[in-house]
Amino acid sequence: MDDVAAWFLWLYKATGIKLTIFYDPYDRTRFIQGFFTTLKLSAYCLVLSVVLGAVAAWLAGSRVAAVRGAVAAFVQLFRNTPPLVQLYFFYFAVGPLLPKVGGVPLLGSFGWAVVSLTLLETAFAAEIFRAGIEAVPKATVEAAQALGYSRAQIYRKVVLPLAVRVTMPAMTNNLVNLVKTTTLAYAIAAPELVYMSAQVWSEQVNVPEMMVVLLVCYVTIVGVINQIMQWLEERLRVPGFGQ
């Protein structure tokens, strides 16, 4: 670690390429914190949006027209309005309405970023799951019905496992989009990667270097996600589906 720090310090002195995040302990801590905040934000939103998306997709197949209408309205609403405005709406407009606990707001910028991005991603996940559910053959569902499964059981044990596999490529895409969208949390000062990098570059005046680092970070995260999802897709493959 010291060698790496020494090399980057030498690099700065020799060429003027100023990557303080490798040798300045303060900048390094900030940057690493930002990196993990981005990962944490993505992970929370991913888990919540997959669960809520599955529920929404289930409700979208409801026999009650009002429920179907409400889900459709929710999905279209979040898909056809700018994510940044949604974020501002929650943080600046809804946020102040929440009660304060001991003088501290119930949800901070990170909390509101989770709420806003989760709702956005839920809308996308619901559509994706919907398409996946429609891809499950009718005969399979009828067979489950003949075996006496209830509607909820069929959804949980037959339809969903098959639908999840069909939707894998679309979900990968969605997950990549989610990671990219977490950068919006910068706008409400959530301490994620872009925000922390912006603090570094405004103090150290090393915008070009930090820009490259940022881009490399995101492209790497996305690359890793693609690899993991590809591996998962192969692991989950059911004989008789796909090629």
Partner: protein, 264 residues
Amino acid sequence: MTGAQSMSKSLMTASTGLALAGLLVVSIVAAQIPAAAEKPSVMELLWKWTPLLAQGFLFNLLISFCAMAVGTAAGVLMGFARISLHAPVRGTSWIVVQFFRNAPWLVLLFFVMFLMPFEVRVGGITIPFPDWIKATLGLALPIMANIAEIVRGAVQSIPTAQWEAARSLAFSRRQTLWKIILPQCIKRMLPPWMNWYAILTMATTLASIVGVSEVMTITNRITNAEGRTDLLIPIYTYVLLAFFVYCYPISRWTRRLEARYAER
């Protein structure tokens, strides 16, 4: 899709716009209650600021048109590079496309904002680059990469037999591409192209983060100037509604085109 089904579906989704409009009305009505007599009501405030907000929104649309035009032109060229017969060209364009598709829009925007000069001197003439032009270029980059993928996908979806038939009729590669392949591709490219336009329009609000005076910046300025907490939900809902009214028909239309082309 049968007529009745599509009818009920469009009715169902029409409720979405109503839901947003309803939220706006409810929030305005709720805001009326504590408003003191001498203060202007939220409705009056919204009405007062509507011309300015509309101006900001039109600026967003201007940015979206320009970015889409630049992104499409560059994307088509990049798409040709992706299907080039020359391996280095193919490889380089693949890297460029992957890079711009996987980088977050906001980071690309920062990249262009900070690293592009505010003016360029060519000979004796100084060409200025105001912020909004830079933002437009920043937004055009991811559009370019995604359009390139659409072009490549569409060209590859045309049966190889058509290329072979064209060659047997002595068409050159360029002629085949322009006169035979691309005209058929347009239909396949139109729905995803429209989809990206809608995404871009919504992304134009990012320009507010880098200091362009578009609708989001103006909204924040208004809320700061008025200092009214009861104005917050109505005004943000108002902006959401403006985008919804613009983007939702585009998305409906895209769906309809997709369904129509899929039938054939």
